[in-house]
């Protein structure tokens, strides 16, 4: 008796389960226009706080509503939750209509098939693909596929330096090559005896580790992935890149050992306090201001290269950082969603929003605004149009960040503990990272 009952219970459970999983996804065709008057929008946290973001975006959404009659329901999602929320939305088919994504997630999310692909027709609906900066569109999905999103705010890395510390150390101008950077850094940190340091790093921040390693990798001719999307973390170029970065602490002693554990932007507070003279960051101006630094105290220069001047190929000196805007395939208002993306990427809105966030508009026409020629922002803008490359656009990008980012984090820990960083030790860590990728 009991057996039979148990069996029946199992059967019921399994059939419920089958039902649950079967309707897990959304309609394959994607999109409809059932509810043309409303949209839900998940914005990422770009400003100093979530309410600040709402304050910036709400008037614009009102403007959009006035123009089109479509009401946009805004939710600003903190970065700590955004990817988890998107995954959950993808799994269940229940998500927003329009959303912001970090552009490094583009290819990964593209692979899930949850986002509306931006084919020629969709791009035409928002004014055409050629309105956007090439590199920015390149960061919106895998090569040869329709992008999964369109660029919204762009950012790139710059070398921020403390003018007074440079003057005190007798440094006339910002370093243009890594050798110069190391030499300048040594003048300031004096092998770690001066109590001040040349460069700051965020050793515990996986993404930041990846961004720096990627750029150095490009300069060493390494791509981290081959043409078919297979990881090549252990190529000589990749190993050299990672070693060069970690050597700033281990060998050159221009980074304070404590930076190995930084993951909460402590390197920026160190910079604001005059403890470190240089830091590699994207659009740090507002942070410096909030930590009590005046605009005339710091300068911004292009990130150094191995030799020569920043440019394409081996002289790439930044990743294309930024936020893209995507449309959820399951939207019940495809037309409205496209209209909304068109609105947000219109030249006027681009000027206004990017000014508010200190980012660079990925829309060429908007870049002419004088605000984007101000000293701090101009470096970002020029880097973006001349010498930035998107991170590998592969489906396993997120794994790449975790595994290689962790490997570099562990190398920082070794360097900070005074262990020697050798080509072999770097290669061993990267080999381990690569093995964890092949699942």
């Amino acid at each position: 008796m009991r057996r039979i009952r148990a069996a029946a219970a199992v059967a019921i459970t399994v059939s419920t389960l089958a039902g649950a999983t079967a309707c897990g996804g959304g309609s394959e065709a994607g999109g409809s226009n059932e509810s043309p008057k409303t949209l839900t929008y998940w914005a990422s946290n770009q400003g100093p706080s979530i309410p600040a973001d709402k304050k910036i975006l709400t008037p614009e959404l009102k403007k959009f509503e006035k123009q089109t009659g479509i009401k946009v329901k805004l939710e600003v999602v903190p970065w700590s939750d955004l990817l988890k929320r998107i995954l959950a939305a993808t799994t269940s088919g229940q998500g927003p209509d329009v959303l912001n994504i970090g552009n490094t997630w583009s290819a990964s999310l593209q692979a899930t098939g949850a986002l509306l692909p931006w084919n020629a027709k969709n791009f035409d609906a928002i004014g055409g693909r050629d309105r956007f900066v090439d590199a920015a569109v390149g960061s919106a999905g895998a090569e040869g596929k329709d992008p999964s999103a369109v660029p919204l705010y762009s950012l790139s890395y710059a070398l921020y330096y403390n003018k007074k510390m440079f003057a005190d150390a007798g440094i006339a101008q910002a370093p243009a090559t890594w050798d110069e950077l190391v030499a300048d850094g040594k003048k300031i940190s004096k092998n770690g005896t001066s109590g001040k340091w040349g460069l700051g790093a965020e050793g515990g921040n996986l993404s930041n580790n990846i961004h720096q390693a990627f750029v150095l990798g490009q300069q060493h001719g390494a791509d981290f992935f081959d043409a078919s999307g297979k990881p090549t973390f252990t190529s000589p170029g990749a190993v050299a890149a990672v070693k060069q970065y970690v050597d700033f602490m281990g060998k050159d002693k221009i980074i304070a050992p404590g930076n190995a554990e930084y993951a909460q932007n402590q390197s920026l507070s160190d910079f604001s306090k005059g403890k470190t003279a240089m830091v590699l960051w994207q659009a740090a101006a507002s942070t410096f201001a909030s930590q009590g630094m005046k605009p005339e105290d710091w300068g911004a220069a292009p990130v150094p290269v191995q030799s020569g001047t920043p440019g394409k190929g081996k002289n790439v000196n930044s990743m294309v950082a930024g936020i893209n805007m995507a449309v959820f395939k399951n939207t019940k208002n495809t037309k409205g969603a496209l209209q909304f993306v068109k609105f947000m990427t219109s030249t006027d809105e681009q000027k206004l929003l990017n000014k508010a966030y200190g980012s660079v508009p990925p829309v060429t026409a908007a870049q002419s605004d004088p605000a984007f020629n101000a000293p701090g922002v101009k470096v970002l803008k020029d880097t973006l149009s001349n010498s930035a490359a998107p991170l590998p656009q592969v489906a396993s990008e997120s794994q790449f960040e975790t595994t290689v980012g962790t490997a570099i984090k562990e190398l920082w820990a070794d360097a900070a503990a005074g262990k020697a960083i050798t080509t072999e030790s770097v290669k061993a860590k990267l080999t381990k990272a690569q093995q964890q990728m092949t699942q």
């Binding site: 999983t21 959304g26 988890k84 960040e401 820990a413 699942q439």
Partner: protein
């Protein structure tokens, strides 16, 4: 033994019920039992049952199904398309010669070590403090309140404060150890490298000892004073009384307490996640974080599920053995 009188009812309490609840209750009145036998007990259980089925059992079964599939990012949008991969995910997870299995095994050992240390010390601190505070003295109420504070602070806030204190350059811990007491010759890292394991243990103890304290303190209230008086007339000193009377009386509460602490600590996600971020240092790579990384960060939910199921099996075995062992031990000692 008089001491056993107070505890002899215990086998009917919490822990034991689980093992041999069923037919052991002959002492209930027969008439209402027979009449109600049909529906009522089930009816009373129904809400709990439905909720458990819906929120725990059903998702768990789905999770188990996931573990047999190659549920990567390519399929999360429509799970039913994910290919069946049989035991593949399990084979990868337990292949301890390959990197993934090796990392999992390492993480398992770390978790085991962490759990044993954290639970052991939490229990020790909690019990010790409760025993020391068994007698009334000035300030007892105040201390009791203070000791409950870690339990009441939001976990995120408490742990981030610990992370703040463990910073190498600016943290309190190094300020005290290095600058003030000169114990270390240079500031140590607590959030990366080998020390991170101890940092994790310390935070875990700070968070969970008050719970142990509460449970034990509560249990101590039930020990009749006469026992102590009788013992002291027999010439037993205070330490002897603690050993002979207090500790045996705490057995039943300890059975529950240690198990619950063990399960919570073993599955603890918040502490490592807030302390170290999404990639814990090797020496503090707890299994919960490891599985989180293997599913959420690498978007391979099939593999993450397989690891979770293995973890579940392990905990089931440990719990069963533990309950059988502790219950049997208690019965014989109770005579």
């Amino acid at each position: 033994m008089t001491a056993t009188d107070t505890t002899s009812q215990v086998p009917q309490a919490a822990g034991d019920d689980v093992l041999k609840s069923g037919g052991a209750r002959g002492r209930f009145p027969r008439i209402p039992d027979r009449i109600r036998r049909g529906g009522l007990p089930y009816l009373l259980l129904l809400p709990a049952l439905v909720l458990e089925l819906l929120i725990h059992i059903l998702p768990m079964i789905i999770g188990m199904v996931m573990s047999f599939r190659g549920l990567t990012q390519f399929f999360i949008r429509n799970w039913s398309n994910a290919p069946w991969t049989g035991l593949h995910n399990y084979r990868v997870a337990v292949d301890f010669d390959a990197p993934i299995g090796k990392a999992l095994l390492h993480s398992f050992y770390v978790t085991l070590g962490f759990t044993l240390l954290a639970v052991g010390l939490s229990w020790l601190v909690g019990t010790g403090t409760a025993v020391l505070m068994q007698e009334n003295f000035r300030g007892r109420g105040l201390l009791r309140t203070i000791f409950l504070v870690p339990y009441a602070l939001p976990a995120y806030a408490a742990i981030i404060t610990w992370a703040f204190m463990f910073q190498r350059d600016n943290g309190l811990v190094n300020h005290v150890l290095h600058d003030q007491l000169h114990i270390t010759d240079k500031p140590s890292f607590w959030l990366i490298g080998d020390n991170s394991f101890y940092a994790l243990v310390i935070v875990a103890i700070w968070k969970s000892w008050p719970f142990a304290f509460l449970m034990v303190m509560a249990a101590l209230q039930n020990i009749p004073r006469e026992l102590y008086e009788a013992a002291s007339i027999d010439g037993a000193g205070l330490w002897q009384q603690i050993r002979k009377i207090t500790m045996p009386s705490l057995r039943p509460v300890n059975q529950v307490l240690v198990l619950v602490l063990f399960l919570w600590t073993f599955n603890d996600f918040n502490t490592p996640y807030v302390l170290f971020g999404k990639s814990a240092p090797e020496s503090a790579d707890l299994i919960s974080i490891h599985i989180y990384q293997s599913s959420f960060d690498t978007w391979n939910f099939g593999s993450g599920s397989a690891m979770s199921v293995l973890l579940l099996l392990f905990l089931l075995v440990v719990t069963t053995v533990y309950l059988i062992f502790t219950s049997r031990g208690r019965k014989t000692s109770d005579g």
